[in-house]
Symmetry: C3
Subunit: 332 residues, 3 copies
Amino acid sequence: MKRFVDLADFTRGEVQDLVALAQRLEHHPEPRSLAGKVLGLLFMNPSLRTLASFQSGMARLGGSSFVITPGQGTWQLEARDGAVMTGAAAEHIREGLPVLASYCDALGIRAFAAGEDLAADLADERFNAMAALVDRPLINMESAINHPCQALADWKTLDELPGPARRKFVLAWVSHPKSLPLAVPAATVHMAALRGMDVVVLRPEGFALPTTVMERARQAAAASGGSVAETANRAAALEGAQVVYAKEWGCTSHYGDEAADRELRRPLKNWCLRNDWFARAADDCRVMHCLPVRRNSAIADEVLDGPRSLVLRQAFNRLPAQMAVLHRLLRP
Amino acid sequence: MKRFVDLADFTRGEVQDLVALAQRLEHHPEPRSLAGKVLGLLFMNPSLRTLASFQSGMARLGGSSFVITPGQGTWQLEARDGAVMTGAAAEHIREGLPVLASYCDALGIRAFAAGEDLAADLADERFNAMAALVDRPLINMESAINHPCQALADWKTLDELPGPARRKFVLAWVSHPKSLPLAVPAATVHMAALRGMDVVVLRPEGFALPTTVMERARQAAAASGGSVAETANRAAALEGAQVVYAKEWGCTSHYGDEAADRELRRPLKNWCLRNDWFARAADDCRVMHCLPVRRNSAIADEVLDGPRSLVLRQAFNRLPAQMAVLHRLLRP
Amino acid sequence: MKRFVDLADFTRGEVQDLVALAQRLEHHPEPRSLAGKVLGLLFMNPSLRTLASFQSGMARLGGSSFVITPGQGTWQLEARDGAVMTGAAAEHIREGLPVLASYCDALGIRAFAAGEDLAADLADERFNAMAALVDRPLINMESAINHPCQALADWKTLDELPGPARRKFVLAWVSHPKSLPLAVPAATVHMAALRGMDVVVLRPEGFALPTTVMERARQAAAASGGSVAETANRAAALEGAQVVYAKEWGCTSHYGDEAADRELRRPLKNWCLRNDWFARAADDCRVMHCLPVRRNSAIADEVLDGPRSLVLRQAFNRLPAQMAVLHRLLRP
C-alpha cells in the first residue's frame, strides 16, 4: 500500500482486511513495530480528533510524528501555478510539500475545500496538487471531497454492531449555522454503498449531493449488492432505518454562494435530529456523526446522550483505523 | 493512584512518597518505564513550563505526548449543558473530552478560572465539568482554584532547603498590572499548611483569600501541627519569615469586577518584593514564585537575581514532580 | 562540542568531519543513539523546515523534542535588562531560558533580527542574551546574523556536486516584496569562503553586506585559499559562475528604515533570477536558495523547475546535517 487517499481505491475485501488489522492492533499492541519511523502531519485546516489520533497512533506503534500548521507558526503556502508571489504566502507548495515529505517516512495532509468552485472541489484540485508533489506514503486527512480515515473508522464501527448486517442506512442532512464541506457526506455515502447497504440520502431541496458523488456511490453499491437513493421526504427516508448518519453540508444548488446558502438554510432549523425522528425507524436504530457536532443545532442532547448514539465509538475508532493504515504504509 | 487533581486528596505521607519518587527519578532515570504510553495534554489556556515539562517528563520516561490547544489550530469547546450551539464553539466538552481521553493513557487538563463568579470558580466548575467526562488517569495542570503540580514541585523545593524544617512561611501578595487567578495562592497556602508550617497570608485590603480557601488550609494545618493567619501588615508578616512566596492575584472583595480591581491595585505599586522587605526576616529567608513573574512589577531584579531566589529550582522541580505523578498514574 | 551557534567556531576540518557524520547518519541510521534524550525547540519566529527537520532528526536518532512558540500558546518574552514589566510580556528571558534549558538535554533557539539597529543585529545581541542564560548544549536555529544549520546543510550540498571542486560562487541578491534579515547571506558568504571558493557578492547599490560580515568572510577565505569580492555588476559577477546562491535581504545603507528600503527596492523588480542570467555562466552552473522562496519574485519558475536547481536537496540536507549536530552534542 503506497497511499491512503480514497476508500474507493480499495476493494471491499481490502477494506475488510484493513478493518481486521485495526481490530488486531486495538487488542494486541505492537509498541515497537514502527520504531524509528517519522510521520509528518500537515494541517492546512484545524483539527482535534485527527491530530490527536494520528499522533497517538504513531506513538503507540513506536514511531514519532511532527505537526506543521501553515499560517500558525509557519507561513502560508501558495498553490497556484505561475503565481508571482508578492503577497502573503511566503512559500509555494512546489517547495513546501517535497521538502516536508523528505523529512518523514509518511505524510498526512489535511486540505479542506476552497468552497468556491464545485467542479474544482469535486476534482479535489487542492489536495491533489499537493499530493502530486509527495513521493512518500501519503494519507488523506480530509480533503475537499474525501475523508477516508473517517470512512474506515465508521466501517469498523458498523462492523461492531450486534445482530445481522445492517441494511437501511440513512445519511441525513442536519442544520448548521453555516455551510460546511462535502467531504464527509461524499465519503460516507460511498462507504455505506461499498458495504452493500441500502443507502438513502435525506436532504432538503438545494442540498442534493453532486451527481458525481451519487454516481460513484451507485457504482460501489452495484458491485456490493446495495442501493443508493435520495429524497427530501423525511418520513419516507426514516421508515425502517437501521442507521442514521447525521451530517451538515452546504447548499449545492448555489455552491459557494454564502448569501444563497444562508437563505436556503434559514427555514431549516427544524432539521435537528431529535428522538421523534425515530418514530418509525427500527427499534435498535443507531445514530452516527463524525464530530465535531453542534449540540441542539445539528443533533439534540436527547439523541447524543441516549442509547442510539455511536459518536464516541466512531471517534475512538479513528485511532485503531489509522494505526492500521500507518502499519500497512510503513511496516516493511 | 487514579487522578492527580488536588494535593488535598492525599495525606502528608502520600505526598512525601510522591516527592521521594520525584527525587529518585531525578537521579535515577527510568527511560523505558512508560514505553508505549501516550499522554494527552489539553490546554484551554497558555503554557510554557507546564507544556515543556510534561512533554519532556513523559519522553524521559519513554512515553509520548500530544498537545491540543482549542481555539488555536482547533475549534473552541462549549461547556454549558443544554447549549444551542450556533455560536463560535464547534464542539462540546461532552464529545471533546471523552474522545481525547480515548486516544491516550492519561490526560492533563489546564482550564483557568472564568473569573466572573467566585462561587463557581471556588467550586472549580469548569475543570470539574471536564474532569467528570474523563475515564482515564487525569492530571490537573492548573484549574480555577488549584495547581497541584506546582504545589508538589514547591514541596520538593522546600524539602531541599538545608537546615531545620522551615517554620514561618509568608504568602505575599505582589503587584501585577491586572487581575490574576486564585489557583496558585490557594494551592500554596494549603501546601504549606499541610507541611505543618506557620503560614501567614500577607495581602492588602480587598485581596483576602476566600474563606473556603483559608478554612481548607486551616484544616490541613490542624492535622499537621501548623497554623494559618492573614494580615495586611507587612512588617508583622515578614518579621522572622523563613520563606516568602510572592504571588499576584485579583481582588476578592469585588471578584470579577475589573474596574474595581483596577482601582484597588492602583495605589499598590509598592507591593513589589524588594530587598528592604527582608530587613527583619530570617537571615537565610528564601524567595519563591511559581513563574512567570513580571520583573520590577511583582519582584525586583535585586531579589530575583540575588541569593534568596528559589524560582528557577521551583520551575525545574516541575519536571521530576510531574514525572513522579506520571509514573504513579501509568506504571502498571 | 558544547554549542553549535556559528560555523566560524569550527575549523574547515571540523566542518568536514560534521559533514562526514551527516553523510554517515543519512545512509546508516542510528535509531537508538539518542534514546531518552530531549531536545527543546524555542521559536521566537516562524519556521517550517527547521521545526520539521529538527523534530524528525531527533526522532530518527531515538530522542524526543518539544516546541515552544512564545506569543502563540505561550506568553511573549521580555529581553531588556531592568525592564519594569507592566506591558505585554509576561515573562523575562532571565527566567524563561534557564527554565526551558533545565527541561531538556539540548536547546535550539530561533531569534531573528529586530531589524532596527544594525550594530545590535551584527552583534547578535538578542540571540546572545538568550544564549548566555543557557547552560546546556545549544543550537542556533537562525539568529539576527547567523544560520549555521543552513550553512552546514549547504556545505554538504556543495560537497555532493560532481566534478572538480567548484570555484566561482556568486551570492546574488534577488527581489522580495519587503526587507529580510541578513542571517543567511552572512552565513553563506562565510561558508563559501571557508570552503576556499572564489566568492562574489552581487547586489544592487544600497544592499552591500556590512563591513564586518565581509571582513569575516575575507579572513576565512584567506585561510582557505579562496577570495571574497563584491559588485553591483551582474554581468561581471555571473561570468563563469559555477554556483549562484540567490538570497533576499534588506537595504543596509538605511538599515531599519522601511520607507527607504521600499524606495530602494522599487526599481529592482528585475532582480528575479531567470534563465537569461546564466548566458555566460558555466554550463553546469547550479542554483541554490535556503527557502522559503517567492516564485517569480525572487526566482522564476523556469529556474526553480529546471535542472540547475539544488533547493530541494539543500532543504533535505538540513535533516542529516542537524542529526550530525545533535549526535555530536548529545552522544556521550
